[in-house]
């Protein structure tokens, strides 16, 4: 009788963890936006300490082609040797993204060969696949398992394993995700190759509310390439979420006439 009572008390007093699918759906809701604008400064730091810093303005608008696809316009503003350069990406669900590049020296935009998902984005440690996942985790493409709870940089987080579903083209064999329990944002990700080797670690800090719509965003992120020793640090500022972005911006005409 005492044993049975103890067991019942233990069962009911243990925190009930939500299942992995519910956590990932909450994460998707937390990151899903109709549009987003803001400024970001990224610094690539080489293993030997050399640095490269770029500042750009980003404009993001969800397309009407699917939940996981966005139009992205990125315009470099600093340093001056790259200022004015802009890229336009129209994400396509289950297809290569469409991309255009505007070079101020040529005063023209041109369609360019689509980047491979494993290509590094603008020379950073963030690949195009990471960028897509950062905007919207494609939860239907992965099988998630909840591994427990951990504290990351002072924030309580759910720890999950994400394995790609059969047939998915991805550069990663496995990812370990840490989802913040308060905001449902990703606070850490470890990326592993198909042979199980640790490739990179993503960390998000300085999570703050943005606007009045209940959104939160990490204002600092870091991607460390464990294999090469290179790191990319990104600092965000001036976030505006669902404040309205003109759809006409996502065109070559707009890039050429800024």
């Amino acid at each position: 009788m005492i044993l049975a009572f103890t067991l019942i008390v233990t069962l009911f007093s243990a925190p009930l963890l939500p299942d992995a699918a519910a956590i990932m759906e909450a994460h998707r809701q937390a990151t899903a936006v109709q549009d987003l604008t803001g400024q970001l400064t990224y610094t690539n730091i080489s293993k030997s300490g050399r640095k490269q810093t770029r500042t750009l303005q980003q404009y993001i608008l969800r397309t009407d082609k699917g939940d996981y696809t966005y139009n992205l316009l990125l315009e470099f503003t600093d340093p001056q040797d790259v200022a004015g350069t802009a890229t336009l990406t129209i994400q396509q669900e289950r297809k290569d993204d469409e991309q255009w590049l505007y070079l101020p020296a040529l005063r023209m935009s041109k369609r360019i060969s689509p980047s491979k998902k494993s290509d590094r984005f603008m020379g950073t440690e963030i690949t195009y696949e990471d960028l897509s996942g950062h905007l919207s985790e494609p939860i239907d493409d992965y099988q998630y398992t909840l591994l427990g709870e951990e504290t990351i940089n002072g924030r309580s987080a759910y720890k999950l394993e994400a394995l790609p579903r059969e047939g998915l083209r991805t550069q990663y064999g496995k990812r370990l995700l840490w989802i913040d329990q308060a905001t449902h944002l990703m606070v850490q990700t470890r990326f592993y190759g198909h042979k199980g080797e640790h490739l990179k670690t993503y960390t998000a800090t300085d999570i703050r509310p943005v606007g009045s719509g209940g959104h939160h965003r990490a204002h600092q992120i870091k991607m460390e390439n464990v294999q090469t020793g290179n790191t990319t640090k990104v600092q965000y500022s001036g976030f505006a979420i669902n404040a309205g972005v003109d759809a006409a911006m996502f065109s070559t005409t707009w890039m050429e006439t800024r």
């Binding site: 050399r50 001056q80 020296a105 005063r107 369609r111 060969s113 290509d119 020379g123 290179n230 005409t253």
Partner: protein, 432 residues
Amino acid sequence: MRHLKNILKTLLGLYLFGIVATTVAQEADNNWSTTLHGQARVLSRYYPGQNPAGLYRWQGEARAELEGEVSYGKYWKGRAVVIANVNPDERRRNRLWANEAYVYYRQGHYFLKAGKQTVKWGALTGFSAMDLANRYDYYDVLDTEAERLGLWGLEARYSKGRTELMLRAFHPDNRSRLYLEDNRWINLPQRMAVPGGEAAMAYEGATSHYQKRLPLLSGSLSTEVGRVQVRGSWLYGNNDIPLSQIQLQEPMVSPVPYEVQLHFEPMMISALNLGTWAGEWNLWGEAAFVDSKRIGETGEITPDQYTFCSLGADRFWAFEHPERHLRLVAQFLQVFPHQSGTYAPTEIDHIFQTALLIDTELQINYNWSAALRAVGEFRAEGFYLEPRLICKAWAPLRAELSGGWLGGSGQSFFGHFKTNSRIALHLIRPIL
């Protein structure tokens, strides 16, 4: 000392302009927003070879550029670029001017820009026949990228989906800036053949002549068909590179005084551009028809019609080494003249006849890059090699050391001007 004063006055003027523009914007309501930035550049160029006319071998220039933008609401924007250039050895290059000053209005599918604006007419990754209409300060014929001149006029665009119609109209007086005297790229005659020998000549000035003072008009229609980008362009106006004829003033006087008559003749260019990609290569090409004028073999102005074809490819390689990447642009050009005869090496519009152009840059690491521009002109047998070493180790300062080696047959532009081979150092730094 006088030049130093000029530099200080210019920089002070730019600084005050910046303060005023920023203050005005801050005082106004929050529909207004402004941005202001600028850069300073110092160029030093040395020519190891002696010019036949004994001209300068050393050039030093300083330039400050200030760019201000003002936005009002969602639809209106204005932009001005003020440039101050100081050259202690060349008074004609001591200038302070507004190279751009325009406003534009954009709403939905429509865009209209009015005022003084720089224009690059060609829409090709490499050299386009439409680029023959670009207006430059031709103090140096090879370094023109930073010398694009603003033109007064209008640009209108209408775009829907991936299709765009663009119309432009510019005032007839928008011309390139030429330096006929004391310039390493223009050889004014100093002697003429006379019965029994040669006579000395004396340049007395130049006059401009127009068959018609034409506005510069252009239109283009671009769209995408599947994965192919298509653009048709048309341009009509006066060629900014004049045809020159020597007019002797008093043949019996020694030295014989003469005037250079500059004829600005009509030019029309029609071009079709295509662009696509295969794998990781971007591929593009152009077929253009150019209807212009030139000086014929007997000295008269004659038609100069030709078809201009080019094929090009570019690619970007990112290497395993995270700091390293390579960019390559290669273009092959072929001109098919519609009349017989050969082009003189001094005909600037015909620098390329059967040519291969290469532009490549290797980023070695975040601090250092090595680059090469190369031209091989096979019909006139000339070449140009411009290796560059770029250093960003002291960012935001950017230092660029380059060499420019011109060579080949004297029948080619590059061989004709081979004494203009040079070494140059550029220092560029943001000032705001």
